[in-house]
C-alpha cells in the first residue's frame, strides 16, 4: 500500500500520461475504422462483380452492414470514454489537489457526460458534477 503524496512534477507527468493514453485510445479506434474502410474497398467491387452469386452478395452485404453498425456504435462509446472521460478525470484531479491545469480544456457540462451513460449501462454509472459549476470560466 502506498500513501505518499505525489510531487508537483509527478502529477504533471501523470496528467500528460493520461492525455497520451486517451489520445492513443482514439488512435486505436481510428485505426479500426480505417481497417473497415480498407475491407470495404475490396469487398464492394468484388460483390458487384459477376463472380459472386447474387444471393451470397445480398447475405454478405447484410452481414457486413450488421457488423459495421455494431462496430461503429461501440467505437463511438470507446471514443467518448477516451475524450469526455479523460477530461473529467483531469478536471477532478485538478480540483482535488486544488490546482488549475492550464492547457487542458474545461470539461463539458455534466449533462453531456450523462447523455452517453444511459445508452449502454443504464444502472450504475454516476459520473456527475457535484457542485454544478465549472472549475474555470
Amino acid at each position: 500500500m502506498q500513501n505518499k503524496k505525489l510531487s508537483e512534477e509527478e502529477v504533471q507527468k501523470f496528467m500528460q500520461g493520461c492525455e497520451d493514453l486517451m489520445r492513443l485510445g482514439n488512435k486505436f479506434t481510428t485505426s479500426i475504422r480505417q481497417a473497415v474502410t480498407d475491407l470495404k474497398g475490396t469487398y464492394d467491387p468484388a460483390l458487384k462483380s459477376q463472380y459472386v452469386d447474387p444471393v451470397v452478395v445480398e447475405l454478405l452485404t447484410r452481414s457486413l452492414q450488421d457488423f459495421e453498425t455494431k462496430l461503429e456504435s461501440n467505437l463511438e462509446g470507446i471514443e467518448k470514454i477516451c475524450t469526455k472521460g479523460g477530461k473529467w478525470f483531469s478536471f477532478y484531479l485538478g480540483r482535488a489537489i486544488e490546482r488549475d491545469f492550464s492547457g487542458q480544456d474545461s470539461p463539458e457540462q455534466p449533462a453531456e457526460v450523462q447523455k452517453f451513460e444511459p445508452k449502454r449501462e443504464p444502472t450504475q454509472l454516476t459520473l456527475r458534477h457535484p457542485l454544478a459549476k465549472k472549475a474555470r470560466g
Partner: protein, 122 residues
C-alpha cells in the same frame, strides 16, 4: 479561475464512476470482439460455398484475415488502456490525494500500451 476542492464523498463517487467507465469501455471492446467473431463465422461459411469464384473467395479471405489481424491488435490496445491504464488512474489519483492505494502490477504506466499502440497503428 474558481477551484474548490471536491468533498470526500464526491471524490469517492468519482473514483467509483471512473472504475465503471473503464469497465464500460471494456464492455464496448468486448462487443466489437463478439461482433467480429460472428461476422467471421458467416464470412467463412460464404467463402467455403460454391457460390463464389475460387479466386474471388481467396482474395476476400485474404482481405478479411488482414482486417481481422489489424482490428484485434487495436482492440488489444484498447483493452490495455481500460484495464492497466484504468488501474494507474486510480493509483495516481489516490496518491495525489495522499490516500493509501495498492499500486498496479507493471512498473511504468502506459508503457506496454504505448509499445503496442505503435505497431497497431502502423
Amino acid at each position: 479561475m474558481n477551484i474548490s476542492p471536491p468533498s470526500q464523498e464526491s471524490l469517492d463517487r468519482f473514483l467509483q464512476a471512473n472504475a465503471e467507465l473503464m469497465r464500460m469501455g471494456e464492455t464496448f471492446r468486448g462487443n466489437i470482439d463478439v461482433a467480429l467473431d460472428a461476422f467471421k463465422i458467416r464470412m467463412e461459411a460464404f467463402l467455403k460455398s460454391h457460390f463464389m469464384e475460387k479466386a474471388v473467395a481467396e482474395m476476400l479471405a485474404e482481405t478479411f484475415y488482414e482486417f481481422e489481424r489489424e482490428t484485434r491488435t487495436n482492440l488489444d490496445g484498447i483493452e490495455k488502456i481500460y484495464t492497466e491504464g484504468g488501474q494507474w488512474y486510480a493509483f495516481c489519483f489516490g496518491s495525489a490525494l495522499g490516500r493509501p492505494v495498492r499500486p498496479p502490477g507493471s512498473a511504468s504506466p502506459a508503457q506496454d500500451v504505448k509499445a503496442k499502440g505503435h505497431s497497431a497503428s502502423g
